[in-house]
Symmetry: C2
Subunit: 229 residues, 2 copies
Amino acid sequence: MPKLHETAEVEGDRPAVAVKTLAARLREQLADDIVRGALAPGVSLEEAELARRFEVSRTPVREAIRLLVASGLVEARPHRSAVVARATEVELAGMFEALRELECLCAGFSAERMTAAECTELKRIHAALLRVVRAGDPQRYHELNEQFHSIIYAGCHNDYLERLTLETRARIAPFSRAQFRALGRLARSHAEHETIVRAILDRKPDRASAAMKAHIGSVHDAYATYRGS
Amino acid sequence: MPKLHETAEVEGDRPAVAVKTLAARLREQLADDIVRGALAPGVSLEEAELARRFEVSRTPVREAIRLLVASGLVEARPHRSAVVARATEVELAGMFEALRELECLCAGFSAERMTAAECTELKRIHAALLRVVRAGDPQRYHELNEQFHSIIYAGCHNDYLERLTLETRARIAPFSRAQFRALGRLARSHAEHETIVRAILDRKPDRASAAMKAHIGSVHDAYATYRGS
DNA sequence: GTATGCGATTTTGTATGCAAACCTGCACAT
DNA sequence: ATGTGCAGGTTTGCATACAAAATCGCATAC
């Protein structure tokens, strides 16, 4: 299955497409697997085994792992196999808190800075979410919900802050599967989104930030409940 | 000068000290050089040259560079030499804004969570800074000022948020040299610190956060003035 | 039954070789 | 003067080889 050595046909005749290295593609693949849950926290990332699986040598595998280590998705100690990053309850709580605050910042700035086009897109996704709630499709809700939040990250018009927030969400993802299983949560989540959207469209940063804080808080609570703590 | 191959004598008889790999030590050295300004933004990091300089092979050099790429201090494109990360004015402004907000968060949480010991340490550094202001030593002020802020990052008792803030500060450092050249700035900076310290000791998160925002704002302004924008 | 020590195996860390991509400088055409 | 094309050298990307560290299993001692 791993089609990493494909010669990566250049789409279109744009010469500006930088051909990715094997290490870069490996990093993407592994990061995706970790975030999506295919590689669970604690799973060992053995270099030789990954090299065999992807039919490359250990060198690009090592580089990909180093990249992931620096981004926090993988932890490594000298002379020991790297493993998908684990987290204690305390660390996890810290990351949740940080994500909540980052999202509040993004929401606040979005209320100040979103362009008309971005506002339209926000409304579009919000409307699509409502249809998904009515259809009762938790998986699809999860996907669109991520898009909803991502639009708000982008709307802050601060690339660095956007990146921090996206990375934090990715770092938490391996620990927060199965959040929207209850259908009641979907409806509640959408109602909270409504408040956020209103505040942003009304250009009220403080209200947007507060609404986001309440929203994330309730998600976090749901997560804590799910974990049984 | 590069003493990287030293056999790293184990201090004490603790067997728990994880011996660092060459790549890890290289990363530290390079990151330090970049943050301290010895390697300016845009400077090319040629693998073979670094390998010669540090008397190691290209492999650990490559790994160190990959680590730095993921942390944002270095930028790399396939088949091209890695260079110390540059930043446009817009990106820099974004990072400054993010740092300001992160520091405000830390200050707010510190007001809620700092232990008695941490409060004592905060007061100690604050007092030491006053002496440095009177002595008029910008370099020493810069060092102690970093410690002052670092204590507040740690005081938030959220390791992840602390790390984000430290990394953001490091990422900005290469672009913010020579901030405290004017002596008037030192006195003003110390006065602003006073407000922050008071708020934290009084356990007033909102006041602490606001005081920090005002403080960083004035630093940023000083920076902007220095850059001529 | 638990703990300890030792050797074989496994796995990582580093060095090196080679091919492909990139850059330089120069000749040449426009 | 500006642009184009093409050697030649340089630098990176990947594969492989070997050394050093850690792990595992098993025998032995308590």
